[in-house]
Symmetry: C7
Subunit: 95 residues, 7 copies
Amino acid sequence: MANKLNITPLADRVIVKPAPAEEKTKGGIIIPDTAKEKPQKGTVVAAGPGKKDEPTTVKPGDTVLYGKYAGTEISFDGEDYLIMRESDILAIVPE
Amino acid sequence: MANKLNITPLADRVIVKPAPAEEKTKGGIIIPDTAKEKPQKGTVVAAGPGKKDEPTTVKPGDTVLYGKYAGTEISFDGEDYLIMRESDILAIVPE
Amino acid sequence: MANKLNITPLADRVIVKPAPAEEKTKGGIIIPDTAKEKPQKGTVVAAGPGKKDEPTTVKPGDTVLYGKYAGTEISFDGEDYLIMRESDILAIVPE
Amino acid sequence: MANKLNITPLADRVIVKPAPAEEKTKGGIIIPDTAKEKPQKGTVVAAGPGKKDEPTTVKPGDTVLYGKYAGTEISFDGEDYLIMRESDILAIVPE
Amino acid sequence: MANKLNITPLADRVIVKPAPAEEKTKGGIIIPDTAKEKPQKGTVVAAGPGKKDEPTTVKPGDTVLYGKYAGTEISFDGEDYLIMRESDILAIVPE
Amino acid sequence: MANKLNITPLADRVIVKPAPAEEKTKGGIIIPDTAKEKPQKGTVVAAGPGKKDEPTTVKPGDTVLYGKYAGTEISFDGEDYLIMRESDILAIVPE
Amino acid sequence: MANKLNITPLADRVIVKPAPAEEKTKGGIIIPDTAKEKPQKGTVVAAGPGKKDEPTTVKPGDTVLYGKYAGTEISFDGEDYLIMRESDILAIVPE
């Protein structure tokens, strides 16, 4: 359902559905509990076209790690999303 | 009526008619009430040509989300508008 | 008379004759009274050639909105003017 | 005599002979008395070649307005001059 | 095992497995004990493609020195990693 | 003797032999006594090749004015020199 | 022995073996004792390839002056080195 989000981010902005706070993912990544400013995980639901000569790399469906304080909250149909710049995304991880 | 606004923004500036403070839009986007600095919604009524080699993306009629403190207020014929840079606009959303 | 001002602004500088503090213009724009840092209106009387690869957009005779604290005051033949960068100008408005 | 100043400014630097503190110029420009940081007037006596791909615009003999705190003082044969960057110069004015 | 880490860093980001706190490496490098902000050693396990026109230099398997406070911690299958920008890496050293 | 200084400045760095504190030069330049941060005079003894696409302008033997706090002191054979960036040099003056 | 250091600095980083604190070099350069932040002397033992379109200028074996607080300490086989950016190096001096 997340992929049907009808929003077009501008430039290098990306909309991410934050993952529920499960401690362990399928791929086995554990986000350590004590670190402050540890990265968060989520799924890309929409990505802008990128900046001049720098198309965005992530695409809808990618599971990504992003900085804890990255982005701005919006909500849609009762779901919470974050809208952030692609440069706030650290890595694409296995689902 | 908003589209008839006879102002030509310079460079990458965009004039936005802020949406009335309805809690739920047609498309179902709810702007959460408690978040500080949450994005606002509005309709583009005029857009400048853009900066060198970077034409503006939004066009009059687009419904957009923008940062809470983006832009400067102006009023015209009794209506309030905001004039902001396109980089203050986060995304184009369904009306 | 303003157009006869014999000054050549350098680079992207523009000389503006501030409009008298009338509350309502022909086109109906009202500059709201309570906002702090609201834009001001004036008429371009001279514009520099622009910066490298970025010619200026405004031309003498244009009515423009500019930030409240934009520019530096000069006076000529008893008239007050502001000299500012074109980037301090927000939009061209109907006279 | 000012034009005979035998100094070669580097890059975009310009040497200006400040005008005596006459309140009214031939062209009628009055530098207002109460404004703080109001521009000053002077005559260009030497100009550097400019920066890469940006040759200087002003030339010796030009009467110019410049920011009040622009430049650094030097003196030569008992005369005081200012050496400043061309970007500190606001406009070329009638003598 | 480190090389099997299934993460794709974005842009110029690099994932490093910090070396255990052994005082002396095979190559004989000793990280001095008293210096504050001394570099740390680790092994690259994944590297992004680099930034526009600047591909990353390090590759998985490289032993690298990096600034003490570089990067953000993540953990995977019980192992701790750092995700940092390539510019946080000082040098490639013998294993 | 100054020209025999066997140092190769890197990039846009220039080595200057400060002039003795004589109050009046041959060309008649007097560095005013009361101004703070007034420019200093000296002779270029070595100049780097310049930065990418920006070769240095000054050459050994040039008498130059430079900002009072420009550069870093080094000494060689009992003589004091300053090593500074070319952008710290204001102008080439008559000897 | 210094040249055998098996480290590959990244980008524009350079590894320098600081000279022992001898007051006078063969070439006669004396680093003044009282100046604060005076430059230091050392020998380049390894240099990175440089940044995009800006290859490094110094090469192993060069004796260089560098800012007092430049670089980060590392040690190898009981010897101390500094790893710094080439822009921290002021000049190449006679050995």
